[in-house]
């Protein structure tokens, strides 16, 4: 069985976010990039399934410039079998989804796994778009995943409960928290083995750029918490009314 897993190349969550070019571009200098945490869980789950005896060939894919190869290399060190990089700066979710759909068509993959969203732009659209382009089912935001012979079983958290779904191959599934418990830490042996694994580079299929980022804004800094004495209701009401302006 062959699986294609999308590996996001995202800033470490502790990064200091800055912009350049009049706030139209994200400043990548000084940023440590990591595998997106949801994709890391997704890959961990696939590796667990493989370790438990399912014959699974794992291909990691990323749409990005050459610097994303370090992130793909980490996926290989964790245990992915091979990697594909589509040599393009991802422009928006549709562009990325189209490129990944092209990679899918070139191979003989049984299913596609993504994270539920990237942790930089948090679009959360790529998985659904890939499924739509390819005309295959999509399982968004799955918190559990199992392969049971010719079908896959997934669990999704929905308002007020859980939804258990079954799907025949092929399909796209997006991982969220719970997909695996802890991300797998690659060992020295994995890092060594990754040296010999191949990263294939595909040129992108031409796609129109349909979105453009005009400006980035940083969220306002959180102000310090104000404490009001328990018996001073008047002051609490005044603050909520005059400062927070919520009542």
């Amino acid at each position: 069985m062959k699986v294609l897993i999308c590996i996001g190349h995202v800033p470490d969550t502790t990064s200091k976010i800055r912009f350049t070019d009049n706030a139209s571009k994200f400043d990548k200098s000084d940023i440590q990039f990591i595998i997106g945490p949801y994709e890391e869980l997704a890959l961990t789950r696939l590796l667990d399934i493989k370790d438990a005896g399912t014959d699974l060939h794992i291909t990691a894919v990323n749409v990005g410039p050459v610097e994303t190869e370090a992130t793909l290399r980490k996926a290989l060190a964790m245990g992915a079998d091979e990697a594909v990089r589509v040599n393009a700066e991802p422009l928006d979710a549709l562009f990325t989804a189209k490129q990944i759909a092209e990679v899918y068509k070139k191979g003989t993959y049984d299913f596609i796994v993504t994270g539920k969203e990237s942790i930089d732009y948090n679009g959360g659209q790529v998985d659904g778009m890939i499924a739509e382009i390819l005309g295959i089912p999509s399982i968004p935001s799955a918190s559990k995943f199992e392969i049971m012979g010719s079908v896959a079983k997934a669990e999704r958290e929905i308002d007020g409960g859980k939804e258990v779904v079954e799907a025949a191959f092929p399909f796209v599934i997006a991982a969220q928290k719970g997909f695996a418990i802890d991300p797998r830490i690659p060992g020295m042996r994995g890092i060594m083995a990754a040296r010999k694994k191949e990263i294939l580079v595909f040129e992108p299929s031409e796609q129109a750029n349909i979105t453009k980022i005009i400006h980035h804004y940083l969220p306002e800094a959180k102000s310090a918490c104000k404490k009001v004495a328990a018996d001073n209701v008047e002051e609490l009401v005044r603050l909520l009314h005059e400062e927070a302006k919520v009542i």
Partner: protein, 389 residues
Amino acid sequence: MDKSPFLTEEHKMIRRMVRDFAEKEIRPVAKQLDEEARFSPELTKKMGDIGLFGIRIPQQYGGQEMDTLAYTIAVEELARVDSSQAATIAAHNSLGMGPIMNYGTEEQKQKYLPKLSTGEALWAFGLTEPNAGSDSRGTKTTAKLVDGHWIINGSKIFITNGASTINIGATVQCVTLNDEGKKEFTTILVDANTPGFTRIPMKNKMVWRASDTAELFFDNVKVPASCTLGKQGEGSKIMLNTLDSGRLSIGSMGLGLAQGAFELALKYSKERKQFGKSISEFQVNAFKLADMATKIEAARNLLYKAAWLKSNHKAFAKEAAMAKLYCSEVAREVADEAVQLHGGYGLMKDYEVERFYRDQRLLQIGEGTSEIQRLVISRYILDEYTNRE
């Protein structure tokens, strides 16, 4: 720290990997293991599972075939969280496996290295004796060749990884006699289960309490002459070369400990409020943090350069001695200021910095005291000067 020109992407990956592991597996248990002075075979096995055993050993013998810088970074990242676990890994890789890899016969490598690469078995290096510390030529343990066997008598002290349940033996430095009856040194591999070989854990340490330190006793211990490591009489050379590499280990431990203590101090000084503001906002404290960061940066550059020289098969002994000296002294200075920034809380075992303050003290003593490092460095620079004249 990853802007160093010496580091490759792979080195950075190794740092993240070991850091993740140390935060997840070591930090939660470090305090308790220290308090109970307990060596943990379970944690050791986990370190083996991620490949921290045999880091520089070729794949054919079960190792990871990484370079010295990769090893340096791994030890640094362990020491950033816990010196005891860093000590287990450093001693095993550089003192335990290193000499077997560098001087062992093919048969000896095949016999020992694969099982020493798993995390299930440790090998020790027995050099120091009660009366042979800095003066290692004062070794009293003897080995006599009788009918094709060495008969070993004597004792060793302060031997890391020498007495735990997973230790399977030691490389022992012995005094032997050459054909002309002259005194020389020979290193001999002794399996743990050899009759007459006793290994006793040393208790009540101030430092590295969760690492295993042993006294070794040899009472007519008989091993075949084929257990000689290298050639008879090569003991001094093997010991000196092993210690050159060992200095990089202690340098890595000093750097990692300093980094860990600095991070604890930085965090605490931002959280701790006095006179209505974080104590880091007082210039006197901010300057302490600036000095700590500067020293750590200098130590890192010195150590990585020495490790890079070794990785690239260039002479590195002088730089290794400098790195060992400087990193261990920076560890002391940084840990000391880190406690100062913690104030009274820094003296309590509830705060991690207390352990860092104790653990740093070994670094200026082990594998050649600071004084011996200065002696080594001064000999190199005086020799260089003489050669120029």
